[in-house]
Amino acid sequence: MTEVEIQEKYIPKWAVSKVHGNCFVFDITPEQLVDVCSELFHVHQLPIKTVFASQGDIKSGEYYIHYVFGVPVENFYIIPRLLIIGTTEFPSLANSVYPASLYEGGIREMFGLEPIGRPSEAQPVLLHENWPAEIFPMRKDFMDIPLMNGHSKSMEYHFSKVDGEGIYEVPVGPVHAGIIEPGHFRFSMAGERIVRLEAKLGWMHKGSEKMFEKLSPSDGVRLAEHIAGDSSFAHSTAFCQAVEGLGGTIVSDRAQYARVIFGELERLAGHSSDLGFILSDTGFNFGLAQCGRLREQIMQACEKLTGHRFLRGVNIFGGVYVHLRKGEIEELLQLLHGWKKEFEEIIKIADDNSMVFNRLSGAGILAHQVAIDHCAVGVPARASGVIVDSRIDFPYAAYGKLHHEVSVEYGGDVLARFNVRKREVLTSLALINEALQAMPDGEPVSPREMTLRKNSYAVGISEGWRGEIVYVVVTDENGNISRVSLRDPSFLGWHLIPHAAPGNVLLDFPLINKSFNLSYSGNDK
C-alpha cells in the first residue's frame, strides 16, 4: 500500500495527518477519540500496539496521549494523538477498546493524568502503593523533586475479596523461594481450587523510560538491553529500529541477516530454558537438567561469537558489531546440527512420558476469546489460537526474506504453550540455517553519522522469545530523544494469568506461571 492508500483507508477525511517515516500521526479532540479509535480497532481490526503519554509545553500544561495502531504486513502505524491542555483528565477509551485500559492505568501512575470512565478498579499497574503521592515519575519535572522519606503513600491497596463459606486467601510473595524477581500473588481459594487470583506487581520500577530521555541514543541501546535481561537482543533490536527510523539510517543487508541469527539464538536459549523449567515443575527433573544443558550450549556459542552470553553490546544503529566470519558460521551450523538432534531426542522422551502429558494437558487454560480481548501477544496468544507473530505481521530485519510460519496451537493450556515453544525452537533452527546461508557479504554495520528527525516519531517492533516488544521514540525540536515508550510482552501477559488460573488446583499454579514465564522487570520497567 502506498502512503496515499493508507491515508484514504484508515485516516478520517477531516484529519490532517503528518507522515513520520512509517508513522501516520494526526490530532484528535477528546470528543473524537472513541469514534476514531473504535473504527481503527473494530472496523479495520488493527491491533493496538501501545498507548502512551508525553508531556508537551510545561508552562501551558500540555500533555499528548498517543494511541498506536499497527497495520499488519504493511508495516505502517496509525497514531491518533490526543492533546489535553490545562487539565489532568482525559476520556478513557477502555469501554470501547478494552486493551487500552491497561495502558491508561500506566499513564495515570506515570503522568498523573486521570482516565475518566475507565472501568477497571483503581489498582495500580506499574507502581506499588508506597510510591509517594503526587509524584509522577514520567513528568518532566520529576528529576527536580527531591525524593525523601516523609511523603505520604499514594494509595491504599485493597485486594478484591471473594465472599463465601470456606473461602480463604493465600498470599505469596513478593519475596519468593528461589531466585526470581518480586511479585505478589493473592489467591482466593476454595479447598485446593483457585477461585480468583490477583497479581500485584510494580516493585521493580526502575525509571527506565525516564532514563532514556537523559541518555544519548547509543547509551540508550545499552539501557534497552537491560529492560528484561534475558531478552536483551530483542529489546535492543526494537530500540535500534525505532532510532534508525528517526535517523533514516540504512541497515546493511548483512546486518539484517545477523539480527535474525542473533534474535533466533536468543529465542533458542529462552525457549529451551522454559521447556526445561516447565518439565521441572511437573517434577520431571530429567527435562530441567537436559534442557538446561542445551540452553548453556547456546549461551556459550553466543559468548564465543559476540563476547557476551546475553548478546549485549551487539546491536548498534545501522547494524551489529559482530562480523561473523566464515569459520564461525560453519562452526555454528555444526553446533546447531548436533543441538537439534539432542533437542529432538530429549523432547521425545518428555513427550512419551504419560505422566508429564497428564500434568500439562488441560492445566491453566487461557480461552481464545480472552487472549483476543486482551490483544495478547507472544507464546500465550499463539497457544490460544491467536495468529500473531511480529516477525510475520511486522516483518523487520531479514524476516521478510526468509521462510517461516506462525506456530499456533489451539488448546490454550500449558501443553499448548509447551508445544508452541517446541515448534518455535525448530522454526528458529531452520531460520538460523537459512539466514546463515543466505547472508550476503559486506559490512555488518553502515557508517554511523546520524541526525534524528526533529519533532518526530518512530516505532520499532521486534518479536522477543516472550512476545512482541514495542518501542516508540519521540524527538523534540532539536532532534534529541524526548520520550521513549516501551512495552514488554510481559506487561500484557501478567494480566492474562489471572484468567488462566481460576479452576485449577493451587499445586498446578507454579506450572501455569512457568508456562507463561513473564518478566517482572520488563513489566515494571
Binding site: Y168, L288, Q290, N353, M355, V505
Partner: protein
C-alpha cells in the same frame, strides 16, 4: 548377643537414615547426567542445622516447640521396634507389633500436621490439609498389606512376621507380592516421594511435607529432616525384611553379620528403586493421587482376601 542386637536396633535407623537420602540424591543426579553431592552430604546438613540459631514465629505456640521432638522420638522408637536384625530373644521384640508401629507413625503425622497449622503460615496450613487428605487414604493400604501377612503367619508381631516369612510355602508368594505392591505405594505416599510430593522442590505452593515444616529452622528443622530420613529408612527396612524373605534368620554372631550385610543389600536395592522411579516419572496431579492410593488399598484388600480364604 542380645545386647548387641538391641544396640543395633536402636542405632541403625538414625545413623544410617541420612545416608539413604544421600544415596537417593546421588542416584537421581546421576540419572540426570549431573555429578551430584557426596552421599554423606545429608550428615553435614544436619550438623549445620544443629549448630544454627533458631527463628520462631511470634504466633508459634508450644506445639511448634514440642512437635519436632514428638516426631523424632516416634521415629526412633519405631526404628528400635522394626525387624532390622530379627532376633526373637531381644526384649524389645515383644513390643514390636505392627499396629503399634502404624499408630506411632500416625502420631508423628498428626504432630507434623499440627506443626504446619501452628504458626498460621498459609503454606503450612495447605501442607497440613494435603497431608491429612493423603494420610487418611494411605493408612488403609498400609494396614491391609501388613494384615494379610499377619494372617498368613498368625501373628501381628513384626519380629515373628519377619522370621516366619521365609518359611512360608511358595503358594503364598502371590499374597506376599500383592501386599508388597500395596506397601510400596504407601511407602511413596508416607515419605512424600514421587509421584506424591517432590522432596527437593522450592515451590511452596506445591509442597506437602516440606510445607508443614516451612516455619521450622535450626535444630528443630534438623530434627524434622532427620525424622523424615529415618521414616524413609524404616519403610525400606520394613519392605526388605517383611516382604523379601531372604537372609533374615539369625542364630549366632556369624549369621548376625551376614544378616546385616544382606539387609544393607536389600535396602540399597529398594533405595535405587525409589530413586529410579523419581527420575523417570513426574508428579501426579493432586486429585489423581487418590486413584493411586485406592490402588494400594485394593491391592491390600485382595491380598487380605486371599490370605483369609
Amino acid at each position: 548377643m542380645n545386647f548387641a542386637v538391641i544396640i543395633i536396633q536402636v542405632l541403625f535407623v538414625p545413623l544410617v537414615a541420612p545416608l539413604i537420602i544421600g544415596v537417593t540424591r546421588r542416584i537421581k543426579a546421576a540419572m540426570q547426567n549431573r555429578r551430584g553431592a557426596d552421599i554423606f552430604q545429608p550428615y553435614r546438613d544436619l550438623i549445620k542445622l544443629f549448630r544454627k540459631a533458631e527463628v520462631l514465629s511470634e504466633d508459634a505456640t508450644t506445639i511448634s516447640l514440642v512437635s519436632p521432638y514428638v516426631v523424632f522420638a516416634s521415629m526412633i522408637t519405631i526404628g528400635a521396634l522394626i525387624p532390622i536384625v530379627p532376633f526373637a530373644g531381644n526384649i524389645l521384640s515383644s513390643y514390636a507389633d505392627f499396629i503399634v508401629v502404624i499408630s506411632l507413625m500416625i502420631l508423628a503425622t498428626f504432630f507434623l500436621a499440627l506443626n504446619g497449622l501452628d504458626a498460621g503460615n498459609a503454606f503450612g496450613g495447605l501442607g497440613s490439609s494435603r497431608e491429612m487428605t493423603l494420610a487418611a487414604l494411605t493408612e488403609a493400604g498400609l494396614f491391609f498389606s501388613f494384615m494379610s501377612i499377619a494372617l498368613l503367619v498368625q501373628s501381628t508381631n513384626l519380629i515373628t512376621l519377619s522370621i516366619h516369612i521365609g518359611t512360608l510355602p511358595s503358594s503364598d508368594w502371590l499374597i506376599l507380592s500383592l501386599a508388597f505392591l500395596a506397601f510400596f505405594i504407601a511407602l511413596l505416599a508416607e515419605n512424600a516421594r514421587y509421584p506424591f510430593d517432590n522432596p527437593s522442590t522450592h515451590l511452596e505452593l506445591t509442597m506437602v511435607h516440606e510445607a508443614m515444616i516451612i516455619e521450622a529452622s535450626g535444630p528443630r528443622l534438623a530434627l524434622f529432616e532427620w525424622a523424615a530420613a529415618s521414616k524413609l529408612l524404616i519403610f525400606i527396612v520394613l519392605g526388605a525384611n517383611i516382604f523379601i524373605p531372604w537372609g533374615i534368620i539369625i542364630s549366632g554372631w556369624q549369621s548376625l553379620s551376614l544378616a546385616i550385610l544382606v539387609l544393607l543389600c536389600k535396602v540399597f536395592v529398594l533405595t535405587v528403586a525409589v530413586a529410579m522411579l523419581e527420575s523417570m516419572t513426574a508428579k501426579l496431579r493432586f486429585f489423581r493421587l487418590p486413584d493411586l492410593l485406592s490402588t494400594s488399598f485394593m491391592l491390600g484388600l485382595i491380598a487380605l482376601a486371599l490370605a483369609i480364604f
